[in-house]
Assembly symmetry: none
């Protein structure tokens, strides 16, 4: 088998790089993918009831990078979906991240008014405050609020999500969700947000429809690598797996999703409801709400993070960073053999989808 380029993995990184090579360089690319489908964890499929199911949990495309939005928009129309998450807190559905509407939803009116005034006086209006920073305030009222948010929104959710105490994970991960001093109920505040109108899988199919691209599903790269002739390899799989775990295994958090179909039109008020404190699951996703689907029934996914299921997130902490650094040094050496490591798994990073697209486009520009 003789290809100019080999791409290992058909997730976002692999598909973007293959698309660029096939259209910008007009060269032949082989994509090798272990799973029986493309799209990585963004993969979705049309259920019999017409609802697009995201097999690996909710994926909302959001970005402030105009170039990423423009690039992606070449391959799909959008549902201009704006993501809103409710948290089930003390028996109420309230906006997440915690904002001023959440405050009024959970606190008595007079207390909420006092806290709101103090928040604005201390931090200003329309500001985002990391919860761990809010914890440092000295004012008695604000201290009460900080403790309340920490306990009801942050602590138990982090433990369910990661199976670790907050202090055992980098703040960069746990602090992804701040407190927001505004009445903006959206989960993201990026300029561009949406869900591909026909789903992610169709979007990726369109990206690799160029005749220069060949794809082999259900194939382990290691099984065929001896037979391959190539000029360059882009490896987007787990970096520790590439090196046969010789420095140890990098930790990932896994997820099991329990899919349930109900004979009702609406299961919950919004697409995603978080359960920080109740039950063992972290969230329930109702998929039809992403695509304005008017089916008479609805399918939900109840999400259980744990040590089994599919590989969902890197566990970013001191231990794993040290192990990763050893692998990355090895990976850097392979550049001279024209093997390049790129993407969430190969770089062991908590990339959002837009970061992944951006990085893949940059790597293409840089290397080619």
């Amino acid at each position: 088998m003789n290809f100019d380029f080999i791409v290992i993995g058909a997730g976002i990184s692999g598909v973007v790089i293959a698309e660029r090579i096939s259209t910008q360089l007009n060269k032949k690319v082989l994509i090798i993918e272990k799973r029986n489908h493309i799209g990585g964890n963004c993969y979705d499929y049309d259920e019999e009831n017409g609802i697009l199911i995201q097999e690996y949990g909710p994926h909302i495309f959001h970005t402030n990078y105009k170039e990423v939005w423009d690039y992606t928009s070449q391959f799909t129309d959008w549902v201009y979906y704006q993501h809103k998450v409710l948290g089930f807190i003390d028996g109420n559905f309230v906006p997440i991240p915690f904002n001023l509407n959440t405050l009024y939803g959970l606190m008595p009116l007079k207390l909420a008014e006092r806290l709101e005034t103090k928040l604005i006086d201390n931090f200003g209006y329309n500001k985002e405050i990391p919860i761990l920073e809010l914890k440092k305030v000295e004012d008695k009222d604000l201290k009460f609020l900080a403790d309340f948010i920490y306990e009801k929104i942050f602590l138990n959710y982090s433990e369910k999500q990661w199976g670790l105490k907050p202090e055992e994970i980098d703040a960069s991960v746990t602090a992804r969700v701040p407190m927001v001093i505004s009445r903006d109920d959206r989960y993201f505040r990026d300029k561009y947000q949406g869900i591909p109108k026909e789903g992610y899988t169709k979007l990726f199919e369109k990206m690799i429809q160029n005749k220069n691209i060949e794809i082999q599903l259900e194939t382990d790269f290691k099984d065929i690598r001896d037979k391959l002739k190539y000029k360059k390899i882009f490896y987007t799989g787990p970096i520790d797996e590439y090196f046969d775990y010789k420095f140890g295994k990098l930790d990932y958090r896994y997820v099991n999703i329990d899919f349930q179909t109900w004979g009702i039109e609406n299961y919950q008020p919004v697409a995603v409801v978080n359960y920080p404190n109740d039950y063992e699951y972290t969230r329930i996703t109702e998929f039809k709400k992403f695509n304005m689907n008017e089916s008479k029934q609805t399918t939900i996914g109840v999400e259980y993070p744990g040590n089994s299921g599919f590989m969902a997130w890197p566990v970013l902490n001191e231990r794993n960073r040290k192990i990763f650094q050893k692998y990355w040094q090895e990976a850097e050496k392979l550049k001279k053999e024209n093997i390049y490591f790129v993407g969430r798994l190969a770089e062991y990073k908590y990339y959002d989808m837009d970061d992944t697209v951006k990085k893949a486009l940059e790597v293409f520009e840089e290397i080619i």
Copy 2:
């Protein structure tokens, strides 16, 4: 070809003048129109699903001129539609122009109450304040509000709409939308407002049904002008085009509209939603809401101003005003050859529909 009167262009100005000539003077008129339809940018058509689509974006008839309302009402019944626009601001749909309800929709309660009191004390109740004037206040709270409105409603929208900084366009244009100190959520406060019951195209068809009127579509006036004999010409096309751009091209802002049909009954809460800050489009129009249509599906138009598409608005600024003045001097000289320039394109003015009707009626009275 021998006509008493020639009218170039079948938009509002051309159609009104032709109607007057045919019925009041009982004289023959030829209308020459480049496009394949009448009505100019007001043109609408009945989609298969029974929804009237306004091909060139939302047109709401509104006026304080009784004579304009009475004149127009001869040719159509009305949907007494009162235009309300929502802006998508910080994740909330709030009334545009910014009014006291917008204030309560975006601000925390206590802050909103304080700002409301100060606004009324400073400017009075039921007053309209241009946003650029509000920016001049010195009170700290009002300054915060002025900056907030400027940033969230005005600045980014102006830049999307015009592709220019606010200071590069006349304030008469950017200041069309003021802040309103009242609870009136309407976009316009004119006495008469509505949408022609059968649409604008039917209205214009009725205006030109007199047997004295002949119309040639898809015809460029310049191609046939040598063959024409006439007493008077009314030219309603672009003034720079008439003079072969000899003093340079006048700038226009163009618009592309992406029409999408969705299998749902309602796409958004009102007919027009503005997006000042998110995405690249400025607004989305849901057409069925203009005509009280009960279709099971809905068609929207997503509007992208730019340098391509159809000619939508004159870019009123110093440069263009100077160029226009040169053309207008030439146009004035042509009066003695019985050629008259009238309308939005010929006068390079940001006329609303009612201004255009009024001006055309005045020009008819004056010249005939």
